[in-house]
Symmetry: D2
């Protein structure tokens, strides 16, 4: 791993950490961050919320791609109090993290047979 | 106060509560909600974040107008780790809440002489 | 209203705002804040989370009492991924806000017949 | 990697992912989650907040140890509006994540010479 000036934080990492592991590390932080930053947000314009989530993801270090999809189908009602809020089950995220030559594709979605959102590593290269 | 079918929650309120007080109540909930939902969000596209905040505000009951302004000037750095995050001091919000004939204009901003963001009632009518 | 040195923010408020309205305003901000700060928190020790919510509430200005009750019954599962998270429907809050001689009791809970958490003013005095 | 019944999510991961990488992945999600769940929380009793953060960390899958330290020294003032809030710079976290025989120690703290909180992998074994 090239611990260059470009990454002033690298000296704090176990020197045994590989580039693959760094790509996974950075992507996973972002998955956890997005979930806990945005879950609970009242939804009115789902496109605006998706864009804000994607831009927030891309502000994180080493994140090179981000796609968010929000499900706003739930819980809209007749009363003014009843409006959809972003839930973990209603959020799909795809991320790409890159560290030197390593690239990780990570995702979050509710998978069939599991009644909760799963965060996973879709692909790791390099 | 007209405790109509339009507000199925009203029967849970102290019957002494006025329409003015309801307008203030609903607006203030939204101020607190926006602050604690969005503070900490990494900022890359401040326009996208402002739109998401405004749309989230308008999803709340009885909120008729919302304007958000995000300050992204802070803490961008040379290293990939250093990026601006939304802070309370870097967020300006203006809201209008309406309940029957009463209308409250509320705001949040860092006022001169106070080194913290203040939430306040700018105007109450009706 | 006594706009004393004790409240350096009061000069930014519409001079028409009453003490009752201020008590409601401060309490409502706190309700919105607690909801959007803590919803989504993974639950392992509900007592610890309830205490943290109550202490956070009491840090807000003019809040004199706070009680939180967390429902952790949902969604614990056989797999390591399945654990309860704080949802709006699983959170009960009672607050007391005081401004000069006025005192507001506010609450949040899921009321019968409404499939969502309602924030309401239980009692306003003074 | 033993893709046993104990981990029903593992089949969604790239089969190339190692146990070390899984330990890092799970720990990193939790770091990001804690940061964005709790930053912004008003602080009154820092011990209660630390406990809530640690318990929330331990609710995440594969997290075997968690320690949080909150800095509440900032911004307490004479006015009722001025109270400390949890900032990223004022939060120290240490986590241990375990997946099969692999164990990762991860941390977050503000390191000397960097004016922002750094998340890092302190040690990876197995």
């Amino acid at each position: 791993m090239n611990k260059s000036e470009e990454d002033p934080g690298s000296k704090y990492f176990d020197s045994d950490v590989t580039d693959r592991e760094r790509a996974i590390f950075e992507g996973a932080i972002t998955l956890g961050a997005l979930y806990h930053q945005f879950v609970g947000t009242p939804i009115r314009d789902k496109g605006a919320l998706e864009t804000a989530i994607e831009e927030s993801a891309l502000a994180h270090p080493f994140i090179k791609g981000a796609k968010a999809k929000v499900d706003d189908s739930g819980e809209r009602g007749d009363s003014p109090y009843q409006y959809p809020e972003l839930s973990g089950k209603g959020l799909i995220i795809e991320l790409e993290a890159e560290y030197n030559e390593s690239r990780a594709k990570l995702g979050m979605r509710r998978v069939q047979g599991l009644d909760y959102p799963l965060m996973y590593i879709k692909e790791i290269r390099g």
